[in-house]
């Protein structure tokens, strides 16, 4: 790797190698400390208990400083360790622990002594976790939808996630000032007033965690000072002395230098992840809130541009070290390290709707390209205001690092946030959370990603009158058999009623999850760094954030359902080639002996992704119906907390497909569903422009995040000419009001896989010589030729 910058090159190189080499490992330290504290303090009011538990952990965690790092602080005693959070759930630790080091993805090492220690700690938590409490409270009928995986409740086993803390506030004021403000508010309360007492407890808790945060950093200051005294190498010694000074200053006091700012953000990020382990606790718009410190450093000659770049590299590497342990099931749903949601957002607009891109946006993009790490994830917010120059830089970065850079359509995201109640200025200050959902920085609790909601399973239940066909278990009241359906409209209405039923069940269950979090796992630290929790005296879990939305179910299988409804329309109602009864019989047998009819369903009906209104309008009908059904409900956080649907199931379309039999679009039983808002694999045959047009027919702003993946060959990034064409393509994507796009730039490795397993890649376009061809159609010889060339291009 060549990441040398100026004289500090060797240092960052060494640290990079060390971080890249480090294996993911499970650590028991937090598990042990939190269990000790809970056992001895059972009687405390929950909000105080949570604050003191965090303090207990921060005061006792091992403090470890790597002599090569510029920014101190680790998640665990290991470089890439995953801490454990038993208070949310831990039964899966018992069942899954032996497969963590050998499962298909997200492997973690589990040393034997840690396995044993975990085994000893677990019994205390039985019946005490958030997940246990949710399971206890969930009504029997609602449980069925959950047990049969029509929908999931991912959040019952994890803490608060999907938000961006108010880093700007921490940088500007520091925790000393934040704490003083809370103390003043505490002093102004009137304890004869019954409402004020709960607020007083909340403020007490907030003061405890502010102090804990300051003390945590000071432990690093002490450690760095001690190490510097023992250090013989003069350079290292100086570095450690500087580090000691920085950790002494921040996050207690306002940041002055760029390095202060990075260290302050890093401590804050770390501490709030140690309080609660939700996914997608994102970093927000670092090019915006770090910019004043960058400018100050440059103007006063505190650091050069190279030095800033170098510090950013250390910061990115730190982010890369963060990892989260998923259960086996969770690991199957999430595909790739980026889903830890350590995402930063670049570009976008200011509160006054001007282009917000600055020098730091370019620098961060450059660092991401140089390091090419799977995280942090880089989200780029684009709008008509974004300069062509910046978009071109993004396109060039995509060539080397397409895996972690994704593009968001600023104006569509802003529209969605407005429709959910945000003010226009706040809405413009959104940041990506790592999947496709946004949060307004520092003042929003989205609690997004409730896990997959299986749209195709609902279609199956509409066909089988609410009975799961493989087990014969009834999952909902009868709506009448599909045999009696005589019109397309009736069919759609029946599907809508199934959706209505399970959306309602989901909302009941999700509200219970919210309720249990308030009861068992409030988050005082997150509350001190989220507006307006302190101002109104309400914890984050209870709705203290300025904006709240209900936990979003993540709709899975959109195109499979749209294609299926279109096939029923065409083959049953238009052409009369089959009756509903016959269709059902064929599906039940998984097209056994009726390949002819499967091909009819597959080839005679329109397919989403080809710019054909006949089916694209159906896709939007499903999209909008689901979002609107959810928008009717509200979650128990705050006065205004609407539900809405999300459309980024990542890799869950594979497990979701496993539990759905054959579908009318010609899909065989247990095959994957369509992913995100993309067409079913291989069924969009009219090129990238048609794909974009189809996707553009969805009313994205009614939802809360939809993912569109597109595969490109690196040769498309080759000449200035092709970059200009991609620029035009991206501008057209903006015009079409599509929420998101991520380009998957094909590598030689993928091409080799496609050569071996052509059936997996029916759609893989490669640029050959002035034109494109389907890779799997080419001869072995030419494939080899293209593979060689691809390697050359990358």
């Amino acid at each position: 790797m060549m990441i040398h910058t100026s004289s500090q090159g060797a240092l960052i190189e060494r640290y990079y190698e060390e971080v890249k080499k480090a294996e993911r490992v499970i650590c028991a330290e937090r598990f042990r400390l939190i269990t000790e504290f809970y056992k001895e303090n059972e009687g405390l009011p929950i909000i105080i208990k949570r604050a003191k538990a965090l303090q207990y952990v921060l005061n006792r965690m091992q403090v470890r400083i790597n002599p090569d790092e510029l920014i101190a602080g680790d998640f665990t005693e290991e470089l890439r360790g995953a801490p454990l959070f038993p208070e949310y759930s831990c039964d899966w630790l018992v069942t899954d622990i032996d497969s963590f080091d050998n499962r298909a993805q997200f492997r973690f090492k589990v040393p034997q002594e840690i396995k044993e220690e975990i085994g000893q700690l677990i019994p205390y938590w039985r019946g005490r976790t958030v997940a246990d409490r949710v399971r206890m409270l969930i009504p029997e009928d609602v449980r069925k939808g959950y047990d049969f995986k029509v929908f999931d409740l991912a959040r019952m086993g994890a803490g608060m996630g999907h938000h961006v803390a108010n880093y700007k506030k921490v940088l500007k004021r520091g925790f000393n000032a934040i704490m003083a403000d809370i103390e003043a508010r505490r002093a102004a309360l009137d304890l004869t007033n019954p409402e004020d007492y709960t607020i007083a407890l909340f403020y007490d808790a907030a003061i405890i965690v502010c102090k804990a945060a300051i003390d945590f950093a000071k432990r690093y200051a002490v450690q760095a000072a001690r190490m510097s005294m023992e250090e013989l190498d003069l350079h290292r010694r100086k570095r450690l002395e500087e580090l000691a000074q920085v950790c002494e200053r921040v996050p207690a006091s306002p940041a002055v230098t760029f390095r202060d700012a990075l260290q302050s953000v890093w401590f804050t990020f770390l501490i709030h992840q140690l309080e609660s382990n939700g996914g997608a606790q994102a970093l927000g718009r670092i090019d915006q809130y770090l910019f004043p410190y960058y400018r100050n450093d440059i103007e006063r000659g505190i650091s050069t541009r190279d030095q800033v770049e170098n510090m950013l590299m250390h910061f990115f590497l730190k982010i890369y070290t963060v990892c989260k342990l998923y259960s086996n099931e969770g690991a199957e749903w999430h595909g790739g390290e980026g889903v830890w949601g350590k995402c930063m957002t670049l570009g976008g607009v200011t509160r006054a709707n001007q282009d917000a891109t600055n020098e730091l946006s370019y620098l961060c993009l450059g660092v991401a390209t140089k390091l090419s790490l799977p995280q942090p994830d880089i989200a780029v917010a684009l709008s008509d205001r974004t300069s062509d120059d910046f978009v071109v830089k993004v396109i060039k970065a995509l060539k080397t690092n397409s895996g972690t850079i994704k593009l968001f359509n600023n104006d569509v995201v802003v529209s969605a946030l407005l429709s959910l109640g945000a003010s226009i200025e706040d809405a413009r200050d959104w940041a990506s959370l790592g999947c496709a959902d946004p949060a307004i920085q520092g003042c929003m609790n989205t609690e997004a990603d409730g896990g997959p909601f299986n749209l195709a399973k609902c279609l199956e239940l509409a066909l089988y009158d609410g009975v799961d066909p493989s087990t014969g278990v009834r999952l909902m009241p009868s709506l009448g058999g599909a045999e009696e359906i005589t019109s397309m409209d009736e069919f759609k209405q029946k599907y809508k009623r199934v959706l209505e039923f399970f959306v309602r069940e989901y909302v009941i269950a999700s509200n219970i999850v919210d309720f249990v979090h308030m009861q068992l796992a409030p988050t005082p630290f997150l509350s001190t760094i989220t507006d307006d929790c302190i101002e109104i005296g309400l914890d984050f879990t209870e709705g203290g954030a300025r904006y709240n939305i209900g936990c979003t179910p993540v709709a899975t299988g959109l195109a499979t359902v749209a294609d299926s409804i279109a096939a029923v329309e065409k083959v049953v109602f238009d052409q009369g080639l089959l009756t509903m009864k016959e269709l059902k019989a064929i599906l039940r047998e998984d097209f056994e002996g009726r390949e002819d009819l499967r091909l009819t369903l597959l080839n005679n009906a329109p397919k989403y992704g080809n710019d054909d209104d006949a089916v694209d309008d159906l896709a939007n009908w499903v999209f909008t119906t689901f979002n609107n059904l959810l928008r009717e409900y509200r979650a128990p956080r705050g006065r205004r907390c609407p539900y809405v649907g999300a459309w980024y199931p990542m890799t869950s379309h594979i497990p979701c497909g496993k539990i759905v039999g054959a579908t009318p679009d010609g899909r065989r039983a247990h095959q994957p569903l369509s992913d995100n808002v993309s067409p079913v694999w291989g069924r969009n045959v009219r090129g990238p422009t048609a794909l974009l047009k189809s996707t553009g027919k969805l009313d994205h702003a009614r939802g809360y995040g939809s993912i569109l993946n597109m595969t490109l060959n690196p040769s498309l990034f080759g000449s200035e000419d092709s970059v200009a064409r991609l620029l035009g393509f991206i501008r057209a994507w903006l015009d079409l009001d599509i929420w998101h796009i991520q380009f998957n730039v094909i590598t030689a490795e993928t091409l080799r896989d496609a050569q071996r397993y052509p059936e997996k890649y029916p759609n893989l376009l490669v640029r050959v010589a002035g034109f494109s061809a389907y890779f799997t159609d080419l001869s072995k010889e030419l494939q080899d030729n293209i593979i060689q060339r691809t390697e050359y291009l990358i």
């Binding site: 422009t689 393509f729 501008r731 015009d735 050959v768 010589a769 002035g770 034109f771 159609d777």
Partner: protein, 192 residues
Amino acid sequence: MDDVKKDAIFYRRTGGGVTLSGGEPLIQSAFAKELLEACKSIGLSTAIETCGYASWANFEMVKAHTDLFYYDLKLMGDELHKKCTGVSNKLVLENLKKLSTVGTPIIVRVPLIPGINDSLENFRAIGSYSASLGANVREIQILPYHALGIPKYEKIGRICEVKSLGLSEERSLEQHMKIIEGYGLKAVIGGR
């Protein structure tokens, strides 16, 4: 036209447009004229890919509605041209000359067939002829030979006779480019 309009948003953002290509669009020049006219009426830019072997009357029909011609020029030697394509290149060269006076930009394309038309001599002749036509001939694109048709042949159970020709070597292409550039023309490898 409905299909053409579907991509309007992309034409607007990329400055792209509609290109009529092969077979040979000038065989159906009446239809081509209508389609091009319709495209122009909604502000799209238009182009035609032609092998040049068509009556001048057919060119006349479309020329006012076309913003750019891609014009194939394979071989300057008439004997070899006859042998390989079955017809004389006289008409092709004549049409190109006439077209160059119309005022519409022309890009000359040379599909490179190893052993047939890749001689340096042929390229000198192409360069010299093109350069004599004036400023409307903007550039020469050299299209390297490719074997993409082979799997298709195999799929329909036929044998592709040109298998043994091999793929174009990048190295020799540079020589060809230099020759073209020597005549003051812009040379590009591959289409865009």
